[in-house]
């Protein structure tokens, strides 16, 4: 089963294409690293996959053919947007309760256990949590929904190194425990290198390479970072060529 499948997917904001002619099939059971520079179209791709943004062209389906944004898809995808937006004025307990009331599936015990482990008090206001705690709370809420697919947009961008390590540890543990597929985006591959089992490199709205890390390592005979760098460079230079020609 493919967790995300796109066909000639594109999104145009006014005159600029944020993503263009993107055809992908991401198989399930992976921790997928979606890597590319800022403005490459990572967020656009992810928000279309979770049903927040409508494509300008092409199609996107999730979890084995459900149209993105359909009730069945929303039910089984947990999405944590960049900077983990949550209601700052609510205490953590009410944030959990609100999330429970917005979902059919909810594992309250799991959420509470995780927060105890993380030493995040239920009475604390969300707005008073540290960046790392807020990211962990967003992840806790996402996991309590028992999703089939967890999508995280730049989850590490605003975290300090210790919080990053803790956060990635939690994601990997959850993926193993629950057997869920995870897609994470980042503009820094180094953060995801240790955990990713699938790599997608995106530059200027175009997919440069997509494949399992194992295959990529075998076929390129180089480290993951170097492979990614090679494709990032290729993406930029191919584009500057076309721009030069035009």
């Amino acid at each position: 089963m493919n967790v995300i499948e796109t066909n000639a997917l594109g999104k145009r904001y006014r005159r600029k294409w944020a993503l263009h002619d993107c055809t992908l099939a991401i198989p399930g059971g992976h921790i997928v690293a979606l890597v590319g520079p800022n403005g490459a179209g990572k967020t656009t791709l992810l928000t279309m996959a979770v049903g927040l943004t409508r494509p300008t062209e092409g199609t996107v389906s999730v979890l084995g053919g459900e149209p993105a944004g359909s009730p069945q898809a929303l039910d089984r995808i947990a999405f944590v947007a960049q900077d983990a937006p949550l209601y700052r004025n609510l205490p953590v307990a009410h944030m959990l309760h609100l999330s429970r009331n917005l979902n059919k599936t909810w594992d309250q015990r799991r959420a509470e256990d995780r927060l105890v482990q993380l030493e995040i008090p239920l009475s604390q206001k969300v707005g008073e949590l540290s960046g790392g705690q807020k990211a962990q709370l967003a992840l806790t809420i996402a996991l309590a929904r028992r999703p089939g697919l967890l999508v995280l947009d730049e989850p590490l961008a605003s975290l300090d190194p210790v919080a990053r390590d803790d956060f990635m540890g939690a994601v990997v543990a959850a993926a193993e425990e629950d057997g869920i597929s995870v897609v994470l985006s980042s503009h820094v591959l180094a953060e995801l290198e240790r955990v990713a089992t699938y790599l997608i490199v995106l530059t200027r709205g175009q997919v440069q390479v997509a494949g399992t890390v194992r295959e990529l390592l075998a076929s390129h005979g180089a480290g993951l970072e170097e492979i990614a760098l090679r494709y990032l460079r290729a993406g930029v230079s191919s584009l500057s060529r076309t721009e030069g020609a035009a």
Binding site: S99, L102, K104, Q108
Partner: protein
Amino acid sequence: MISSPPAAQPATATGRRPVPWTRLAWVTLRQRRGAVIGTSVVLGVFAAYLLIMAIIQNNAYAAVQACHPAAALRCQQLAQAFTRDYWGGGGRVIQSGGAQTVSSLLFALPVLLGAFVGGPLLAREFESGTFRFAWTQGAGRTRWSVSTLVLPAVLLTAVTGAFTALFYWYFRPFLADGQVSDMLPLAFALLGVAFAAWTLFAFAVTAFTGTLFRRTVPAMAVTLVVYIALAIGTATVIRQHYLTPVTEQGWNGNAGAGWVISSWAKAPNGQILSQADLGNVAAHLPASVQNSPDPNAFTDWLTQHGYTMWQSVQPDSRFWQFQLIEGGWLLAVSALLIAGTVVLVRRRGA
């Protein structure tokens, strides 16, 4: 700490039944706690004042009514004192300018309440980015936005409707006294269903513009402009056309007759004289009429010289018809705006 419905089990995940409305209602009320408290405080303070004043005022008015014979000087003075003290304010601090001032202040309440409750509903979600959270939960954005819009709309309409009942009790002596016709613009929108309908309208406009602009403050500003323009336009131009006015002979003024839309006179030769024409006639009258201390001198002169006086009126008996017409179109426009807001939410991308 919080009362919770039983948690849904993972096994229900494959069910096609959507998230129940009761749960979404909890979410909406929890998120709007500030608006609920704010609205309660504002309306509560006004209501407490109206309640106290209504008791005092109705007692004083009962004394005026009980005075017999009504034509006696003592009773006339009592009635004048009542009007001076309670309508005009009479200088006592607790009356804060009297019913005249209080009722005009209340005209601002629908737009302030509506904008305060409706403005942040969706605009805050955009401003803080939390729409990315709310719209990707299992309930889906359509159900979420319907709950977010409809529940506050219903509650706001209900409490402002209840508030009108209290205001009517407070205001009743002046309506009964013929001081104010309930059809007049300075009373109509504060009575019946109009007050709640205008509040709902302000709410719907702000919720819609807040979703359109994705910003709270510009949405409130636009709402204020739209609201004031439409409220004034309705009172001065639109409302008098709900039903064809009744044409009747004689100039009775507003007292008792209803809402006078226009008045004119017919000359002995059949010529129609507007108020402007009559001004010309008055200017050429003998000084004895022009300078007469009797306020009826001019109309007496007109009658004596074969003129007839006419006016077109929306009579008081049409009050509820007019209330239902105004409430009806405001409700329809508000419902369209709320539906439009849901459509915007469904269409809007991140």
